[in-house]
Symmetry: C2
Subunit: 103 residues, 2 copies
């Protein structure tokens, strides 16, 4: 069910940048925001969306909040995609078949 949240979450370019920045490891909000073309509060809001989608999680570290990728959301997305993949490919083969018949 969570892919319904993950897809909109990853649809936004800025949010994708944030997400991709965490690919190699955890980072506090300030570090994530540094270099991005939006304000730090904007980054906080994006992180909230990503968290609600199960794509990231965070942990307190003093006054900082360290964010890292949560595989849960990614796994849900993969599951949905894979389930689709087989059926869609099969249907596509049938389509190509029809196309060739026409000629």
């Amino acid at each position: 069910m969570a892919y319904k949240d993950a897809l909109p979450a990853l649809a936004d370019p800025t949010r994708r940048k944030i997400f991709e920045r965490l690919r190699h490891g955890a980072k506090p909000v300030g570090v994530i925001a540094k270099g991005l073309p939006v304000s730090r509060p904007a980054v906080s809001q994006h992180l909230k969306v990503l968290k609600e989608a199960g794509l990231v999680d965070d942990r307190a570290e003093g006054t900082r909040r360290v964010y890292y990728i949560d595989p849960k959301g990614l796994a849900d997305l993969r599951r949905w995609l894979d389930q689709f993949w087989d059926e869609a490919l099969e249907a596509f083969r049938a389509e190509v078949e029809k196309d060739h018949e026409k000629k």
Copy 2:
């Protein structure tokens, strides 16, 4: 590169319904629209977005346009996701490690 179009395309719930309706085979616009809570022109607009994202393709059949899933867009999305998956999982393991150290 096309995953950047595929993600926003699949982020919309109505568009996902349309896409999922084509999972098992091709359908003309009218059939797709039937049962959906939006007007037929809206469906046409959604199909255009899906097509530009490489997620569907269409073929003329008399006065009808038959739409079907194009594996191309789906494949791009899978590739992006898989590439992410390995690195993210590794980073997550390091995270859990740190968590346990704290205790």
